[in-house]
Symmetry: C2
Subunit: 142 residues, 2 copies
């Protein structure tokens, strides 16, 4: 039986995050000691590891909820899980492309900075003049 603290250490999660996952129904309510402290078994450890791994891959909590649901029903077709993963892959690829464009623009800004006064600063100038911008209009929340 694991305390919440050791479960946290084993999975690289913060204690509060585990309680948060329980609160939003992603983790089940665990057993408790007489004094009211949570105690976890291996099932919960696996489930939390699954969640954390999926989070590291950038899946949203909602996507993870779906994936866990699929994982609980081993005889359903796996098309859905595949679709979720493909969606995620597409998002990652889009983010990569945008970040790459940003990197190029930032690098250009930085390389051209002459180190003089802000009046001549290339960084500020580029930000001021959108016409030199390589990126599209829509990308912000990356």
């Amino acid at each position: 039986m694991l305390t919440i603290g050791s479960l946290a250490r084993k999975t690289g999660t913060k204690v509060q995050t585990i309680r948060y996952y329980e609160q939003i129904g992603l983790m089940p309510e665990p057993g408790r000691t007489e004094g009211g402290q949570r105690r976890y078994g291996d099932d919960e450890l696996d489930r939390l590891a699954f969640i954390r791994h999926a989070r590291q891959l950038g899946f949203s909590l909602e996507a993870i909820r779906e994936l866990l649901d699929l994982s609980d029903h081993p005889h359903r077709p796996c098309l859905e899980a595949d679709a979720i993963a493909r969606r995620q892959l597409k998002q990652v690829e889009q983010r990569l492309a945008r970040l790459e464009a940003l990197r190029i623009e930032l690098q250009r800004m930085v390389h051209e900075c002459s180190g003089g006064q802000t009046a001549d600063c290339r960084v500020l100038e580029v930000l001021r003049d959108h016409s030199e911008c390589l990126t599209d209009h829509d990308e912000i929340g990356a």
Copy 2:
């Protein structure tokens, strides 16, 4: 004189976002009509364009606040602006590296999906088994 709506259209911003920027002091309080509606001039247009461009490049609102401040003082040395841009570039490069690792892992998951039942689903299996994971433990909030 621009209404808030036309300013929004010109800069690709939402009306509410402009009011939000005003609320947190990033945009100045504009003039108003007798009826209390906001009216903007070219200075505000430039400032908002600057903000949006910087946001597209991934700068935080706090960083933008600093950049705007520097931009308002043309005779100060531009080292600070340069430092902010370099910091941003570094972050972008780190994110790129992590996203690339994620892309590889996701692609592997998706390519190995056989399209059968969830019991044999490669996507779920990979998520379950962290030992095959290529990524480090720390990355989540990307």
